[in-house]
Symmetry: C2
Subunit: 408 residues, 2 copies
Amino acid sequence: MDHLEVPQFLGLLVLILGAAKLLGLLAKRIGQPAVLGELLAGVILGVSVLGLANPKSEVLHLLAELGVVILLFEIGLETDLGKLIQAGAASTAVALAGVVLPFAGGYAVCRLLGLDNLVAIVAGATLTATSVGITARVLADLGRLQEAESQIVLGAAVIDDILGLIILAVVGGLTEGQTISVLGVAKITGIAFGFLAATLLLGSLLVPTLVRWFSRIDLPGTLATVAIMLAFGLAWLASAAGSAMIIGAFAAGLLLRKTPQAHEIEKGISHLGHFFVPIFFVVVGSAVDLRVFNPVDPANRQTLWVGGLLVIVAVLGKFLAGYAPYWFRGRKMVIGVGMVPRGEVGLIFAQMGLASGIFDSGLFSATTLMVMITTFLAPPLLRLLFPPAPPGAEPPKREGIQDLVGEP
Amino acid sequence: MDHLEVPQFLGLLVLILGAAKLLGLLAKRIGQPAVLGELLAGVILGVSVLGLANPKSEVLHLLAELGVVILLFEIGLETDLGKLIQAGAASTAVALAGVVLPFAGGYAVCRLLGLDNLVAIVAGATLTATSVGITARVLADLGRLQEAESQIVLGAAVIDDILGLIILAVVGGLTEGQTISVLGVAKITGIAFGFLAATLLLGSLLVPTLVRWFSRIDLPGTLATVAIMLAFGLAWLASAAGSAMIIGAFAAGLLLRKTPQAHEIEKGISHLGHFFVPIFFVVVGSAVDLRVFNPVDPANRQTLWVGGLLVIVAVLGKFLAGYAPYWFRGRKMVIGVGMVPRGEVGLIFAQMGLASGIFDSGLFSATTLMVMITTFLAPPLLRLLFPPAPPGAEPPKREGIQDLVGEP
């Protein structure tokens, strides 16, 4: 898919939106979160089945990234910063344990299989980063975003993203043969946390005035446009400051939630979300190559073995991390399962490993297998442990992120 | 702008949306249509000033095209098919005269300047096709979309697009040195009109059932997603059938307007419009190269001369075409001025001329100059002849396309 003509592009969008909607509806019918159907739609349109949606296409990639930025912005708009800070200690414990345990497990598995030290480090790193997008969407699908467990998961996923950046820098250095200084790591850590703190502090002072000012302009769509500019702008700023884009977008949502115009903004953004967010999940699904699951091909057996072991430590590591905040009296199991899905960052590690020659193609496939399986495992598992909120159990918030997927 | 990283892309979108919003507001303050400000934002961000928005970037091009498809879809949602058919005879007269007169004028000018027969034919062709997007948006900005003059302009612009396709095929053949058969031209004509007729006929039977069916699903956003899929799908189908994409999108709007869910659909789509439509106008503006206007550079003088003459026949030709439906008792002047802006199709002709070697770079610049000037001339001129509707003069339609720009 080198050059995309406009009519082709329109046709592709119709296919993506149509398949996502259809399979999302079917998933809902059988009691699963809609996002599972959207991921499946991606698998079917993707590289190994129909080959229609190419995750490497620049345009699809950029639209998908807009989707995840808008999703995290919407999640931020639904998230109470106070509750998030309340959950802070528990979130930090989950995030730290959720990085250490899978890393140690992955490292041990690789060493036991006789792999090199450096290989084991990079493989361990692929297991560390939770994909906040999928978990947040599932919790929203289930109408459970406001509960304590969800707040802990959300906070942990954000901290986890920051830890992921640090590990990324370290592993990136290792794969390039650099030695890593403690000072360098401390600097990255400081920037990442500093960005979030500075944004929330400065933003709390500036954003309400900004929004009040723009909400006076009677040009329809102005407020939603300004909101989306804030989300994209902070995402860009986060990235420029050496932090992660989705943290910027999430912070924008947190800041706008406190304004009196939050509801109006949520309504406007939800329509963009209906368009862009499914593209993200379809593109994630489209990267799944079903051919590596074929056990008849002897070349796949080693991959399936290593991948299977990595899946086990990946799931167990995050699952146990859910018990790290031992003082928390809620459903700790839900927290751990919520942290299970891995995503982009894991794939970035795997790609770095492959590009530097540390991973062979078998180990690369094994880690991508781990990413895929954890992604597909979490939605039904979470649904099982955390049944959809009964209607009326939550405050009547029918707009925004709940609205995005429409599950009560 | 070869490869666009995600953060850069987000930053670019912030710039585009921010500049469009800001200059759109300023334009409105001085009593001009907001679209004029958006075009100016494009000029400032574009190739000759800041060089930040590159109209040749694949992603920007595709997003801009989504913008114009969504705009024509919104215009279709606002357009009464009955009124459009009532205006049919007048529209056809305007469209035909609006193709013949500028073509004849452009041909004559080029021949008088001593240019070759083939050169004069291609130059004449660049003057024929009205850009319906700009005119429709200005009429919406002024709150005048429902009036008889606007309906005639809209109908004429659609027919003009079909005529443009036919001329495109003929000129395309000529530039490749083919001879053109009457049968070939008749075939293109038949397909273009046949597509529109077949879509409206079949659609009238199928679309209401389809919409009724989908509006029963209680997954929020479903209806808007289905509507946007219909618009993109018909745009793709139109292109595949040898017609123009925007005709398909316009037909989708006409069809959905007649359903009881039209208002809900309009509301959902307007939020996508707020995002995508300004991108279209900024990208159109960004292609303007102000350097060709510099009279100090002797190389520009010939271009300015030829371009100036072409502008005169381009404006006069469409202006006089407004008087073709001599039986119409409204403001004929408004019709002609509404047809003045040229856009993409004119640029496609110019590019074909350049690529085939029929145009030298001077003549190419002269025709792009004509496209730019007609584009920027029409909004203030139309505003002058057709002042904004007084509040309350129109039915209280505050959603949708009026809503898009918010002018009373």
